[in-house]
């Protein structure tokens, strides 16, 4: 195969992959789970949890929320870039007692499970 033919195939492959990934990112729906059920096995999963804010603080522009449902709590992290563009909820103005829905990816940091919000619709009342 000549080089320019391979370049066309490579370009088509990249473009098709990008379109597919874009489509996947727009159709991905979080799985609704309870805070109490979250564990190490869930790392990498896209989930939605809801509960009441126990603590909320901002450090270096990043927002750290302790969200509790029933007996269990989980840390929800909203990094600065996302926190500034979250729609519908002012991430910097959350107060203890606020009801919140958080959608994000489960990560493990410093041995603790946390949910990292990645998109502008990642927080809702």
């Amino acid at each position: 195969m000549r080089e320019n033919h391979i370049a066309v195939v490579a370009f088509a492959l990249a473009l098709a992959g990008l379109v597919l990934l874009y489509w996947l990112s727009h159709t991905a729906r979080p799985e609704r789970v309870s805070i109490a059920s979250l564990g190490s096995d869930d790392v990498g999963r896209f989930v939605e949890v809801s509960g009441f804010v126990r603590k909320a603080s901002a450090r270096d522009g990043n927002v750290f929320i302790e969200l509790c449902g029933g007996e269990a709590c989980v840390n929800v992290v909203v990094f600065e870039g996302t926190a500034r563009r979250v729609r519908g909820v002012n991430a910097y103005a959350l107060q203890p007692g606020d009801y919140l829905v958080a959608r994000g990816v489960v990560r493990e940091f410093n041995w603790e499970i946390e949910i990292v919000v990645l998109s502008s619709d990642g927080l809702a009342r």
């Binding site: 088509a12 992959g17 990008l18 990934l21 996947l24 990112s25 600065e80 870039g81 410093n110």
Partner: protein
């Protein structure tokens, strides 16, 4: 220090470094689950981090498989290997790593004082710096700038989709393996046959690369300052735009950046409380919040492990160069490709394979359009810019 812990860390660093896809943070997690004393586990992790930084240069040079911090070392390493200078490439990387360890240790007290002051000043500058880097990177291609812009933009788009949406678990491995390893393997499969005979003499002069190792240490110091993903790789790319760098000089600089970045990550953790490496965050947790003052001791364990690793790498590298000379390139390529696909599946699942295929397309596109593969760094640069721009 605990000699047994350091020896265990060395073994784990060797394992994680030589098997791309096995992330050092995964090992840190596994180690945490073992019934070990906190101090022992922390020393083992520290030495693993040091050894890993050195050993990961080996697959980057000989198998074209990068990890997130050795990602730019794979390019000059590959070029030198194909010129029959694999042994020399390895010696350059080993020398630079050694020089970087020593220079980073000397600069460590300075780094402890430097980070708290510089951190506050630098943050607002990250976006304009990255914007300038991107424009310079693309414009440096001259009349091929439109092709470079295409590769940079598509890579950036891929980075945004992979890093800022929840669709791919652990996206860095499949992305880098696709862009660099799979693309290189597919291109070299067209040439087929055997690897070129590797030159026996790969001696490296002391003064030949010391200035570039020192430059790498300076960049490593700055890389830990910028809270951006893959900043070690970005700093080396930045340097290559402003200084003339052939493959050997670039390899020397990037190796020094990768190693010094690890040593200085201990300094950022101790001085501004920012652990730039996941394993160091685990060490911090093991020794407790009040243990920041002890971090330089753990940095010492990482340094000892890195120094031993440099010696081992020089020995292993000699054998590797000989094995590569005798190897059937087609069989090796096939085996590496199978390994990468299997690891991408294990690490990131089906969407990881899709990401890897897309990244491979981009990795092929850059050389076929006649532009440098450094434009693929748009994958990291664009999402970082979007983060700082709040887009």
């Amino acid at each position: 220090m605990e000699p047994a812990a350091i020896a265990l860390g060395m073994l784990l660093g060797l394992f994680a470094g030589l098997l791309p896809g096995v992330h050092a943070n995964t090992i840190a997690e596994a180690l945490r689950g073992l019934p070990l004393e906190s101090e022992f586990a922390a020393f083992a992790l520290a030495s693993m981090v040091g050894a890993h930084a050195v050993f990961e240069l080996l697959p980057a040079i000989f198998l074209f498989i990068p990890d997130s911090s050795s990602v730019v070392a794979v390019l000059p390493g590959h070029r030198l290997l194909l010129e029959g200078k694999g042994r020399r490439a390895l010696n350059i990387a080993a020398f630079s790593a050694l020089a970087a360890v020593i220079l980073s240790v000397l600069a460590f007290p300075l780094a402890l004082a430097f980070y708290p002051v510089a951190y506050a000043l630098t943050k607002p500058l990250v976006f304009p710096m990255l914007a300038l880097l991107s424009i310079t990177l693309v414009a440096s291609e001259g009349r091929r700038a439109p092709a470079a812009l295409l590769v940079f933009s598509l890579s950036g788009l891929l980075g945004v989709l992979a890093l800022e949406t929840p669709i791919v678990r652990e996206p860095l491995f499949p992305a880098f393996a696709g862009m660099f390893a799979c693309a290189s393997l597919l291109l070299s499969a067209r040439q087929g046959g055997r690897m070129p005979e590797q030159e026996k003499d790969g001696e490296v002069g002391f003064w030949e690369f010391l200035p570039f190792a020192a430059l790498g240490v300076l960049l490593g110091l700055l890389a830990d300052l910028l809270p951006a993903i893959g900043s070690a790789a970005q700093m080396a790319t930045l340097a290559s735009l402003f200084l003339f760098m052939n493959a050997e000089v670039f390899l020397a600089t990037t190796s020094a950046v990768a190693v010094s970045h690890v040593v200085f990550a201990f300094a950022t953790t101790a001085s501004i409380g920012k652990a730039r490496i996941g394993s160091i965050a685990v060490i911090q947790e093991l020794i407790g919040r009040g243990g920041a003052a002890q971090l330089p001791v753990y940095a010492g364990a990482a340094v000892v492990a890195a120094l031993v690793a440099v010696g081992l790498m020089a020995l292993l590298g000699k054998e590797s160069a000989e094995v590569v000379s005798r190897a059937d390139a087609r069989k090796i390529n096939l085996a590496i490709m199978a390994y990468l696909v299997a690891m991408a599946w294990v690490v990131s699942g089906g969407t990881g394979l899709l990401l890897m295929a897309t990244a491979t397309g981009l990795g092929l596109l850059a050389p076929l359009l006649g532009v440098r593969r450094t434009h693929l760094m748009g994958f990291l640069i664009l999402p970082t810019m979007s983060y700082y721009a709040g887009v």
